[in-house]
Symmetry: C2
Subunit: 318 residues, 2 copies
DNA sequence: GCCCATCCATAGTTTTGGGGCATCAAAAAT
DNA sequence: ATTTTTGATGCCCCAAAACTATGGATGGGC
C-alpha cells in the first residue's frame, strides 16, 4: 500500500471500459455515466499514477504500452476481487471453508466414518481436518476454538456454552477371550460377572463413568474383580485377546474381527455407552449446521444394537 | 466484474485496517478518519457483500472465518495493485518493457552486439527481441509498429516521419581470393579494378546504392566487370573464397576470418558503407531514448576504420 | 478548399455521499 | 451501582463526482 493512495476501483473500471472500447463515448455509456466525467476520472488516474495510459487524438484513442500493461493487470485484479467475493459468499452459505473435527478412537467403529463420507461427497469444497483425541483433550480444544466439533464420551463433563447431540447410544457387551467358559452362553447377566477377572478403563480418564459402572456392580450385589486398567479403549480388546480377562466394551466394538475374542450380550442395570457430538453454541456456522444435519441422518440412539447386526458390516474409514 | 458493483478500494483499505487492528478507534486513526464513518463504511461493505466480516461486541472485535479469508485476499489484491503501479511507472521511466530491434546481417560484425550487451547489462528487466532482416523488410515493419528500432542501410530510402542516426560509417575494402595477383599489394585504387571480375549485391535490393557505386566506377573511367550478383551480403565473402571474383565489402567484414579471402584497403571516390539506426519520431519512448543513448556510445562514424585494427577483435554475439 | 461530422477536453452547475461532531447504548471493570 | 470503554446512530457539511453546455481539433465529403 505504498503507491496506492487515492486510486479507486471506479477509476479502474472506467479505465478498463475506455481501454476496451477505445472510445470515450461508448465507454461512458457502458459505465452509465456521461462522457465528460469519464474523461476527468481517466485524467485523474493518469495524474496520480504519473503515467500516460492512453494516447488520444480527437479522432481515435489508443493504449500506450504502459496502458496496455495496466489493463492486463487491472483485469486480473478485478478477477481476483470477484473470486474473493464469491469465495466468502460461498463460505457464508456453508459451501466452502473448513471444519476441524475431533473424535475419540472408538468413534471410528461407529457410523461416524459413513456420516463423514456422505458429507464429504455432498460438500466436496469443504476441507475437513481430523484429530483423534481423548475426551479430556478435545474439550479444551473445542473451548479454545481449535476444534469446531468434538465427538466425545460426554458422561459427567461440563457443557456450559456448548450444544450437544447424542450420536450413538448402545449397550455394553462383554468381550471374552476365546475358549472362555462363557463360550457356550447366548446371553449373560451382570450377576454372572461376580469374581470374573475384568479389564477396565482408567478411572481418572472418566471418573463419573467409572463411578457409574461400579455403582451398577454394587446394585448387583458384588464388587468387580479388576485385574488391569488401560488408558486407551483401543487396547482393551487386545488385552482380552491375550486371555488376561474379560471387558465391558461398546457393542460396536464387535466389528473388530481380530481372532481370539468373542462378544456376548449383557443384561442387567448398566449405563449406556454413548458418543456425543459437542460444539460451541456461539460458533454454530452454516457450515457446521450442514455438517450436523448430515451427521444426524447417521446417528443411532436406540440403545439396543445387537452385536450380530453389527458383525460383517463395513465401517468405512476416515 | 459480476459481483463487484459499488465496492471501493477505500472500503477495502478500511476493512484491512480494522481487521488488522481489531479495534475501530485505532483503525480509524490509522485511516486518518473518525470512528463513525469507518463503522459506516464497514457496514456498507458487509451489506454489499451480503457477508458478515467482523464479529463485534461492544467490548472487542474479531474476524469471522469469512472476514479472515477476505482479509487475506484483500491484502493480495493490494499487493498486486501496487505491483501494477510500480511496473508501469518503471516502464514509463524506461526501466521495464520490451524493445524490438531489427538489423541487417552485416550489423552483427559491427559494434552493435557490444552496444546491445552493454544495454542489456544496464537494463536487465528490458526484454529485447531481435529480427535479422533486410532493409526493405525492416522499413515496413518499423512503420507498422512491429519494430521499435531498425539498423539498416539507409541509402536512398524514404525517411519521412522517422528519426535516424548513423551508427557505423566505414570505407569499402576489396575482398580478394587467396593467391590473387593483388596479393602482394598493400593498398589498391579503384582504377586497379578495371577488368577485375567482381561480385555485386543485387541491384534491386538497394537501387540507389547500386547506382552510386556504378557512378564511382564511371568517374574512374570504366565500367565494372560484374560476374555475379548475390542477394545477401553474407554470401558475398563465401563466393569470393571460391575464387569466382573479388568484391567490395565493408571494412568490418574483415573480422570474418574464413580462410581463402584477403582484404585490401581501397582508395578512390567511393561511397561510404553505412549502417543507420531508424525509429519512428512518434514512438520515441523513454526506453528507446535510453537504448539510443547506449548505442551512441558504441557508434563509429569516422569513416576510416583500417582493416588491421579490426582484425583480431571480438565482435561478441547477439 | 470549405464545411460538416465526430470526438475528446473544458467550464460551470448540481447532486451524491463520505466524513466530522455529538450522542447513545451495551458491556466490562471498579 | 457507577464509570469507562467502544462501537453504532443521527445530523450536518463539504468535497468530489456527475451532468449540461460548449469549445476545439481532426478527418471525410461535397
Amino acid at each position: 500500500m505504498r503507491y496506492v493512495l487515492m486510486m479507486e476501483l471506479r477509476q479502474l473500471k472506467y479505465f478498463i471500459a475506455v481501454a476496451e472500447e477505445l472510445h470515450f463515448g461508448r465507454a461512458a455509456e457502458r459505465c452509465n455515466i456521461a462522457q465528460p466525467p469519464l474523461s476527468q476520472q481517466i485524467k485523474k488516474l493518469e495524474e496520480e499514477l504519473g503515467v500516460k495510459l492512453l494516447e488520444r487524438t480527437s479522432r481515435k484513442v489508443s493504449l500506450t504500452p504502459e496502458g496496455s500493461e495496466f489493463l492486463e493487470r487491472a483485469l486480473d485484479i478485478f478477477g481476483r476481487l470477484d473470486e474473493a467475493v464469491v469465495c466468502i459468499q460461498d463460505m457464508a452459505e456453508g459451501l466452502k471453508g473448513h471444519l476441524r473435527v475431533g473424535f475419540i478412537g472408538p468413534a471410528s467403529l461407529s457410523n461416524l466414518p459413513r456420516a463423514i463420507r456422505a458429507f464429504r461427497e455432498a460438500n466436496p469444497d469443504i476441507r475437513l481436518d481430523f484429530s483423534a483425541k481423548s475426551t479430556t483433550e478435545q474439550l479444551p480444544m473445542l473451548r479454545g476454538d481449535r476444534l469446531d466439533i468434538a465427538f466425545v464420551r460426554l458422561f459427567g463433563h461440563d457443557t456450559t456454552g456448548l450444544k450437544s447431540m447424542t450420536f450413538l447410544r448402545e449397550p455394553y457387551v462383554l468381550a471374552i477371550p476365546d475358549g472362555h467358559h462363557f463360550g457356550g452362553r447366548d446371553r449373560l447377566d451382570i450377576t454372572d460377572l461376580e469374581g470374573e477377572p475384568l479389564i477396565f478403563n482408567q478411572r481418572i480418564a472418566q471418573p463419573a463413568l467409572y463411578r457409574s459402572l461400579i455403582g451398577s456392580f454394587h446394585k448387583a450385589g458384588f464388587m468387580p474383580n479388576i485385574v488391569q486398567e488401560v488408558n486407551t479403549e483401543q487396547s482393551t480388546i487386545a488385552l482380552v485377546a491375550t486371555g488376561l480377562g474379560s471387558a465391558l466394551v461398546p457393542a460396536s466394538s464387535a466389528v473388530d474381527k481380530r481372532s481370539g475374542v468373542v462378544f456376548k450380550p449383557l443384561d442387567g442395570d448398566l449405563p449406556q455407552w454413548e458418543i456425543t457430538a459437542l460444539w460451541k453454541a456461539k460458533k454454530e456456522s452454516v457450515l457446521l449446521k450442514n455438517f450436523l444435519s448430515t451427521v444426524t441422518q447417521f446417528r443411532d440412539v436406540t440403545g439396543s444394537t445387537p452385536v450380530w447386526e453389527l458383525l460383517g458390516t463395513d465401517s468405512g474409514s476416515l
